[in-house]
Amino acid sequence: MKKLMMSLTVAFFAVAVTGQGYAPGDEARDFRLKNVDDGLVSMADFPDAKGFIVIFTTNHCPYAVAYEDRIIALDKKFKSSGYPVIAINPNDPVAYPSDSFENMKVRAEEKGFTFPYLFDETQEIAKTYGATRTPHVYLVNKEVGKLIVRYIGAIDDNYQDASAVKEKYVAAAITSLQAGEPVDPKETKAIGCSIKWK
């Protein structure tokens, strides 16, 4: 009986955890967030895009930093074929001063970000999407006017060494979408810095 109760508890929490945020196939909401150029950016601003590589990331997180060059490369590679990167920092700058809006501007300038780097000040977008860590990717595809989440997870399978990567999850997912094939895997996990909630 005790074991059954425990299994039920575990099952309940599993549902509770996965129940938050989006799963592949869900419709994603658009946003309107402040960009490092002081303008506001929404997905609706890109009528010609076929989809978006939405990446929750931060300045401070070493895992996110390890992926910065790869995020720039993703944008350069896929923007022209209709899948630009939109980076969003959801972190609480009170806990992490290096993740403040001012420091986002500095970092975007230093690294020469080729994509919008938005500040999710209220953390509403990260919560709605279900982001828990940085970097955390949501690949969104435009399908008959709707924004459908088609892939959630890591950029690739090796945060330490870009040259040792075997599977480029995001790139492969976009290639599948372009070919009209199902995305596989639809979801991956990766170690990352937990997002500090307010």
């Binding site: 955890v17 806990a95 996990k189 170690i191 937990s194």
Partner: protein
């Protein structure tokens, strides 16, 4: 002069303990048995990294509880997800500074999608995260633990 220098160095070698602490570096397969011990000890396995602020903030709680429970069958293991290239520059100095006497293991297995679910299917991959278990009785916790919460989980597992 050379002789004096040699003697000074020799004395220093004995007086100043050479950093002999080495940290075991493992892949997930090698770490795995530590997550499945089947005996009457409660294992507290904490996943952390020196660059992870909430991890570093909760470690003192773990060390306090480890010290308070040192006579009980509770074993603490800190599994570091630091970059292996920063083992000497960050991890070892951190362990010394915080006098972590408990076991520290460096998990060097970059393809984390392969193993996160094997630790616990509810884990998103964010750290800190802690697995507390004894035999089949398991409690996985993603996010920071207070000292009180840690003690209460350990006690609930021991029942």
């Amino acid at each position: 002069m050379k002789k004096v220098l040699f003697i000074v160095l020799l004395i220093l070698a004995f007086v100043v303990p050479i950093d002999s602490q080495s940290i075991e570096e493992v892949n997930f397969e090698e770490l795995s048995p530590l997550l499945h011990q089947n005996n009457d000890t409660t294992y507290v396995v904490n996943f952390w990294a020196t660059w992870c602020k909430p991890c570093v903030e909760e470690i003192p709680h773990f060390l306090e509880v480890a010290s308070e429970m040192k006579d009980e069958k509770v074993k603490f293991v800190f599994v570091s997800l630091d970059f292996p290239t920063q083992k000497d520059s960050r991890l070892l100095p951190f362990i010394e500074k915080h006098r972590i006497g408990e076991q520290v293991i460096l998990l060097n297995d970059p393809n984390s999608n392969e193993w996160i679910n094997k630790v616990d299917p509810t884990w998103s991959g964010a750290i800190p995260a802690t697995m507390i278990y004894r035999g089949d009785s398991r409690n996985f916790h993603e996010s920071s633990l207070s000292k009180e919460k840690l003690i209460s989980i350990i006690k609930s597992i021991k029942l």
